[in-house]
Symmetry: C2
Subunit: 537 residues, 2 copies
Amino acid sequence: MVYIYDTTLRDGAQTRGVSFSLEDKLRITRALDDLGIHYIEGGWPGSNPKDLAYFNEVKKLNLKNSKLVAFSSTKRKGLKVEEDANIQQLVRTEVPAVTIFGKSWDLHVTQDLRISLEENLELIYETISYLKRYFDEVFFDAEHFFDGYKSNSEYALKTLKAAEEAGADCLVLCDTNGGTLWYETEEIIDAVLREVRAPLGIHAHNDSDMAVVNSLIAVRKGAIQVQGTINGLGERTGNANLCSIIPNLVLKMGVESIPKENLRKLYSVSGLVAELSNRPHPVNLPYVGENAFAHKAGVHVSAVEKNPELYEHVKPESVGNRRKIMISELSGRSNIVSKAKEFGINLDKKSPEVKEVLEKIKELEAQGYHFEGAEGSFELLLKETLGLTKKYFELKGFRVLTEKRSEDEEAYAEATIKVEIPEEVAKERGIKDRFEHTAAEGRGPVEALDRALRKALEKFYPSIKEVKLTDYKVRILNETSGTAASPRVLIVSTDGKRKWGTVGVSPNVIEASWLALVDAFKFKLMKDDEEKRGRNG
Amino acid sequence: MVYIYDTTLRDGAQTRGVSFSLEDKLRITRALDDLGIHYIEGGWPGSNPKDLAYFNEVKKLNLKNSKLVAFSSTKRKGLKVEEDANIQQLVRTEVPAVTIFGKSWDLHVTQDLRISLEENLELIYETISYLKRYFDEVFFDAEHFFDGYKSNSEYALKTLKAAEEAGADCLVLCDTNGGTLWYETEEIIDAVLREVRAPLGIHAHNDSDMAVVNSLIAVRKGAIQVQGTINGLGERTGNANLCSIIPNLVLKMGVESIPKENLRKLYSVSGLVAELSNRPHPVNLPYVGENAFAHKAGVHVSAVEKNPELYEHVKPESVGNRRKIMISELSGRSNIVSKAKEFGINLDKKSPEVKEVLEKIKELEAQGYHFEGAEGSFELLLKETLGLTKKYFELKGFRVLTEKRSEDEEAYAEATIKVEIPEEVAKERGIKDRFEHTAAEGRGPVEALDRALRKALEKFYPSIKEVKLTDYKVRILNETSGTAASPRVLIVSTDGKRKWGTVGVSPNVIEASWLALVDAFKFKLMKDDEEKRGRNG
């Protein structure tokens, strides 16, 4: 059995540019628990008030799989354990396990802590033996262990032994600077195994692109705990990526760890953490990246449909990901047909409709459109081309103004809009005035436009009120051509029942937003109609 | 000696969303040659006209270090080698080396190629022995070798032997699906070494997060050629990343390969390829990422300044990267002092100015500012607080309008602006009218605003004409709160002599862009003044 120890909320939160709110931390905790992670390191309660608040709040979650862990350093020199505020904060968390990190590299002891080597051993021993009175499990993170071993192997081993004698439940070998190559990991762990008997753990950083393999090597050598983060978040180049480690362990090495069926949640946990860390979700992540099972080349696609094993190392579904047959310049008619089938539409590969859809897609892609993440826009495009949806409204014009009257005054945004609904909708709904001309304000121009459009449409289609925008992203295509670059706007909407993505591209960011907004509302109206037809027929 | 074989231009060009122009390919070729890459796989001349044009053009570059390689598959069944158009295209490239890929997995032979196992061996033998008459070196890429070995080891080895007998100069073991774990790589290469004598190479994909270690294992076992791509570009999760492999080989394993001093160019080659592939340069890349040597935590920073080896696995300069001391919430007074020193300003850590700067930064960061990548804005903030620069102009108001008059008409953007310059500037320059009120159009609102502001400022400060915006990025903070999310705009500008980044944050994207634009122009004017003072004093 190998226990997975997640430190996304502590070491991962050290990532440049990442700052989790308390609510974010709780959401991630729930997702990790649901995935079946064995230990969740929630934070360092002594280091900041946010982590302290987390440990108070998290108790209410009633986790079903995960044990919470609090983190801290060894006590400070010269203080009794009972007097050390950091250690006392730990005790107050009342979680089942704690991790204490201590120095195992002699140079760090003398140059950074500036204490004697013997004193450091005492800190480790005293801190751990004290905490063993309060916690079921106490883990020792031997910071810089591999560098320490290279510098002074005898001393590095002594730090492990001090922790072992104090009763540590797991000795976690840390490659804190991430500089250790795989064969060094093998040699050093072999040496450790000759000297200590307590169970081992591993905590690797990725500075040499070795974090995943170093972690798995430790497991092959008998380690029972693997520390890492979702998506490999962490300082510098990041920590060992659990999204690679877990599937390698479970699907390939056949090691008992997280239940195999839970791995189907991995992809969505990875996406959630990327979203909450406000960083792009790298498309090329092994197993969980958007491109991990994307097939581009045409020949490739036909072969992969014949026998996926020829081109895929594992089944995409096993980690909750899916095979992507790309809607791209290279894609052909058979891709359109298989996409349409997902919407319940059977098309003939040789039909003129398929050709028309393909041509439209090619034209839009040349403008910078991408339909990945914007399945709503794609479904609309397909159904509009096939005549399976109607025109719900027509734009008769909009104006969006941003004004800033002086340096000290905040900018002001206002939008005016005029729309017209088709005659048959007016008749059907008994509406006399088919036009609506209205205006709204917003903190920014897109918000103003969104509000004005809703106001106009709600008059005709009250269900528009149910639509909430949950995500708004701008990507600049050709970022290097300055402010003349072309923005692509991606919007995710929900009406409580479903979630859909829509896209717009234009050299004008307002127009790009407009196009994505329009698709968002049209999609909602189309779905409402489809539901109604479903009920009636 | 281990030879580095770059396939960024061929396998890397298969990355989803990447499309290199001919000019891009030539620029990358020059950069790889300059870095000292031994082999550059330029493309598959039989597969598309762009690759063919490349081989014609590249001859004019007179490469000093690299040998060019053309790529193709084994000949088609039923044709003589002389009749196979693909093979004949290869011959016409007149490059010194070619790589031929052939099937080594029995299932691929029977299910994908649909020929007999024996026929496949003949294709390999005939293609390679024919090409040996025309080329100094012929390499054999044994596609899917590791999966093939697991499926039918005897047959997989036969394909290598066929290539060896035909005179192949290197047998390249490919992990095409990227599914092989490190210990399997070790076992399989050991088995191969017992059966063949020709030199071995390795070509790994990263689907299991193992591409780098699998490549280096092959080297430890004696392989002389390592194939990979810059930044790990490539289909799905990408190819083995040469930016990790080369420093690991040269700086850590002490293997003779690319000259150590050339590694200083690695960081810039990595950046160039990211730029030309129109993808973000991942900040967490080992060795070459922006964050690879970035230190965040405060304690950490003071320690790293005492002795960098305590926290860095290699010297950042060794790969052309640099240490970054981050201006962040966690940073304290000593970070401000060391940043100011970079601008030639000596500050006392305990001075009220340092406190003031720190407080301003904290306030701005709470609003969503980030000064990483916006050193221009940071320098302005620092010098404004210290009274080391002046106010160049004041905004008396702007209005930006976007209008779309109907669904078929393109959106139109217009900006009006009014600025005032201070009295002393007017006196100094003999200007009577201190106001300028003007207007401009643009394809989008930000472009219109940029043009209007330039028009207004150029009247007073002609050197503004030298400023070009080279990069414009929008990131939405709190993307999940819909269109009310707060945009952060990052602009990079140049005046031909220097390059600087500026930043603006506001709930209104136009205002955020405005703030970044204003900093961009103020920075230019400040630098002009500093230069003038330097010359006069």
